[in-house]
């Protein structure tokens, strides 16, 4: 190959390689093409790229080999001591390139530090050990160029050839250029990897976030599973601390879990999650003391870091080897803990020699590169910083989500409570509404009824012939009906809201001033008594007056007197008629009695036998005439009596009398009658003062006694008794052993001419008016009269009288 061709080939190769590096971002592709191109360029048997681990050991990660000449070393690990630290430092610091030629026993070294790629190659004798090492790998010549990624010795580009080969300075520089391009590619690839990892992390965070920040329903379980996956754990859990003393902590788990821990309580033993066990807080405290508070609590390897003694039991049956715990804290509030577990893994390493047989202290070069497989089982896989960072980020999301979820739950609870209250309040309002509607309906009905009633009342008041007016407690009119206004000669408007006493009732007929306080109407307002008045006068508008009859009745509202209603009528005409009637009665009385007096006297003497003897028939006729004359006298007396009492014309002249005296006086009057009838009268006098009209009361008692005597069989007793009753009345009783009264006659017997037997008036000499007179007298005294009777056994006539006025 001519020099020009070789340069062209070199340029082309460089272009091709740079293109490939540009075209591909995948490190493995770049490395594969690098080794292939370099081997083609150098025309050597094996070109490999050796990558250092953090501990100084390394692995062949790319190789191009002529397998007929040399063995493949791809995938083989080399211990750190194969390339000692000082050599590695030399590669890094000086960017030292080495060219070894076993045949010439020479090693050429050239530093490319500070971009000095044109530096001279300095040759010296190769270290025999080095030479033996290369020979053991089958190489007669080698070229090593360091690959530096920023400030780190990333690896070595190594060319081996089974025959001695000279590497020119130019070739070295080309290889150096390729190594530099590889460094750039590695940096780009690392950047890509880093970007990819970041994107992956962000995707994980987003997925977890989606699960966590779904407001309505936090899918914590799914978020946890995603988190475990993202952080490459084998299991994980979220423990949410109780929000108050009444609630329980919540535990969500995914994947492999430690067992529950036993906890000693009073007289019992219970099993609780790690987070609830006392040792948890102790561990947190101890671990936190030795760490930055912001960092998660990560234990890389349980074998390396001693666990609290209690925990060994719960982790022992598992394959869990490491744990990372994030304190879920938001706004200074610890909400819980996110823990992710990681199982141990089995690591198989293919060594280019057996480490334990190659004691690092042995400085002799190795004789063999026989492959030796090392298998490490259940070894902890440490948390990378990005994993820890991711866990922390996700933990923050968990904390925020749990905080929000708890807030949301509280709001929901409040909403539910609020809704319940709203429902209750709505129900109450509906009830109240219904009640209101009912009430309004009732009121409307009531109002309609009232209006109807009011209309009826108005009609009644307007139609009433009597004058009607209402008064309030001050004596001011509250209503006046048209009849009242007409009788008084005023318009209704003139009388309304007026002190009516001053207008219509201010003085007596004689002109004497009659004060408001003296009136019965005022008394009605004060005491609530009903007054029937017949002897007053009212004045008309034209200053004339008229006799008036009125009744004043209290108006009460809820037991309280609020006014009075006065119903009155002009009784002028009635008084005239009454007067005429009185005169008529008086005249009739006189005119009937006058002829009777002569008849009665004449027959009385004739029938007495004082004159010359008469025949028995004429004597009998005279007796009949005398009897009927007497009956006629009684009848006239009774008719007049009853008429006067009933019409109220007879005023009861009431005084205080001893009831006992009245009783004995009455008995004395009828005693001779009783003797004749052979009736015994038994009287039990009651000594009580009684406000009564003596004559009328004796008339009542004698009427009842004479009736009892008339209707009693001979040799029986008529009883007259009296008792003072609890209601302030005296009850008089006249009891006989007569024939009794049929039940249907018990009421009518007190009416005029209503004797049980029509023949009684003739046979017994009664007028048929006696009981009617008795009833009128008793009623005029404010009492009651009635009869109790058993047919065939006798009757008891009773009446009551109030003892005081």
């Amino acid at each position: 190959m001519t020099k020009k061709k070789k340069v062209d080939s070199l340029e082309m190769m460089l272009h091709r390689m740079i293109d490939r590096i540009r075209q591909s971002l995948e490190l493995s592709v770049i490395l594969s093409s690098t080794v292939a191109e370099v081997r083609a360029f150098l025309n050597t048997d094996r070109v490999k790229i050796y990558q250092f681990e953090a501990d100084g050991s390394g692995e062949v990660v790319a190789e191009s080999v002529d397998s007929q000449k040399l063995s493949s070393l791809l995938g083989q690990h080399f211990p750190a001591e194969d390339i000692p630290l000082e050599i590695r430092e030399l590669y890094l610091r000086e960017r030292q390139r080495t060219i070894v030629n076993i045949a010439s026993r020479q090693i050429g070294m050239s530093s490319s530090v500070n971009g000095n790629s044109e530096a001279e190659i300095k040759f010296r004798e190769v270290d025999p050990c080095h030479a033996e090492y290369l020979v053991a790998m089958g190489a007669q010549s080698s070229l090593v160029v360091p690959i530096v990624d920023r400030d780190r010795l990333w690896g070595l580009l190594v060319s081996h050839h089974s025959l001695p080969q000279i590497v020119t300075k130019n070739e070295l520089e080309v290889v150096q250029l390729i190594a530099d391009q590889t460094s750039i590619a590695i940096a780009q690839s690392n950047l890509l990897e880093s970007t990819r990892a970041q994107a992956k992390q962000e995707a994980s965070i987003n997925r977890v976030g989606e699960f966590l920040h779904s407001m309505t329903e936090m899918q914590l379980q799914k978020a946890l599973k995603q988190t475990v996956f993202a952080v490459q754990g084998s299991g994980g859990r979220v423990y949410i601390t109780p929000q108050n003393t009444e609630s329980e902590g919540q535990l969500f788990v995914s994947g492999e879990q430690p067992l529950l821990l036993a906890q000693e309580e009073e007289n019992s033993q219970s099993f609780v999650p790690l987070e609830k066990h006392p040792s948890w807080q102790t561990w947190l405290k101890n671990t936190l003391q030795s760490r930055d508070l912001a960092l998660p609590l990560a234990i890389a390897d349980f074998d390396a870091n001693p666990l609290p003694s209690d925990w060994k039991i719960c982790f022992k049956p598992t394959r869990i080897k490491s744990i990372i715990t994030i304190k879920l804290e938001y706004r200074q509030k610890i909400l819980g803990y996110l823990s992710i577990f990681r199982q141990g893994i089995d690591i198989e390493t293919i060594w280019a020699k057996r480490p334990d047989r190659d004691d690092p202290r042995n400085q002799f070069p190795r004789k063999s590169f026989e492959i030796w497989r090392e298998l490490k089982q259940n070894k902890a896989r440490p948390w990378t910083s990005s994993e820890i960072e991711l866990a922390q980020t996700l933990g923050n999301h968990f904390a925020i989500a749990i905080y929000q979820y708890q807030l949301y739950q509280q709001v929901r609870a409040l909403n539910a409570s609020l809704e319940l209250r709203v429902q209750e309040r709505t129900a109450e309002l509906q009830q109240a509404n219904q009640k209101l509607v009912q009430e309004i309906s009732d009121r409307l009905k009531t109002r309609a009824s009232l209006e109807r009633l009011s209309h009826q009342n108005e009609l009644i008041l307007n139609s009433a012939g009597e004058g009607i007016y209402g008064l309030n407690l001050e004596g001011i009119t509250t209503f006046v009906n048209p009849a009242a206004a007409e009788i008084l000669g005023y318009g209704v408007d003139e009388l309304e809201s007026q002190p009516i006493h001053e207008i219509v009732n201010h003085s007596t007929a004689e002109g004497i001033v009659y004060s408001w306080q003296e009136t019965p109407i005022y008394q009605t307002l004060q005491t609530g008594e009903i007054h029937y008045i017949t002897n007053e006068i009212f004045w008309r508008k034209d200053r004339t007056n008229f006799p008036v009859e009125y009744v004043s009745t209290p108006i009460r509202e809820q037991e309280q007197i609020v006014g009075a209603v006065v119903i009155f009528k002009d009784i002028t005409e009635r008084l005239i008629i009454d007067r005429m009637k009185d005169e008529f009665v008086s005249v009739v009385s006189h005119e009937l009695r006058t002829p009777l007096t002569s008849i009665r006297s004449a027959i009385g003497v004739l029938s007495s036998g004082r004159l010359e003897p008469k025949s028995s028939k004429s004597q009998r006729l005279l007796e009949i005439a005398l009897n009927n004359s007497n009956h006629l006298v009684r009848l006239i007396n009774d008719i007049l009596d009853l008429e006067r009492i009933k019409s109220g014309k007879v005023t009861m002249l009431k005084e205080n009398h001893n009831a006992a005296d009245l009783m004995t006086d009455a008995v004395e009057i009828v005693q001779s009658m009783a003797d004749k009838a052979q009736i015994t009268i038994s009287v039990t006098p009651l000594s009580v003062q009684l406000w009564s009209d003596r004559d009328r009361l004796i008339q009542t008692l004698t009427n009842l006694l004479s009736n009892a005597i008339k209707f009693s069989p001979p040799h029986t007793t008529v009883h007259l008794d009296a008792q003072l009753q609890s209601d302030g009345t005296i009850r008089f009783e006249v009891k006989d052993r007569g024939r009794g009264i049929p039940p249907d006659s018990l009421e009518t017997i007190f009416d005029r001419f209503q004797q049980v037997d029509a023949s009684d008036s003739r046979d017994r000499g009664g007028t048929g008016l006696g009981l009617a007179i008795c009833r009128s007298i008793v009623q005029q005294h404010g009492g009651q009269i009635w009869v109790e009777s058993i047919l065939g056994q006798g009757s008891t006539f009773c009446f009551t009288l109030p003892i005081g006025d």
Binding site: R593, S598, S601, S629, R644, R696
Partner: protein, 122 residues
Amino acid sequence: MTKTILIIDDDDDIREATQICLEIIGDWKIITASSGREGLQEATNQKPDVILLDVMMPDMDGIETFTQLQANTATQNIPVIFLTAKAQPAEQRQFTQLKVSGVITKPYDPFELSDNITKILG
């Protein structure tokens, strides 16, 4: 000595019937007058032992006659029994207040009248 009874009544039949009855029943001298004025005169002149005086009479009624009798010293001590057709007890009490010796309601039983006169005369 026969007692004298003066009957003052405007009704002729009553006057006569009463006179006959009392003459039959008792041993009395009966004189009569048909009016209050005549009665006053008779009373003054005859000085009867008892006067039976009708209440309702025209011109001068029984009350007025009684008042005049009381006003006259010659007649003021003569017992007077009113004869009345007014049967009401209240009306009768009115006569009692006049300090009359008795009130007999018309029509009366002549024997009852005689008993009353006998009581007054002692």
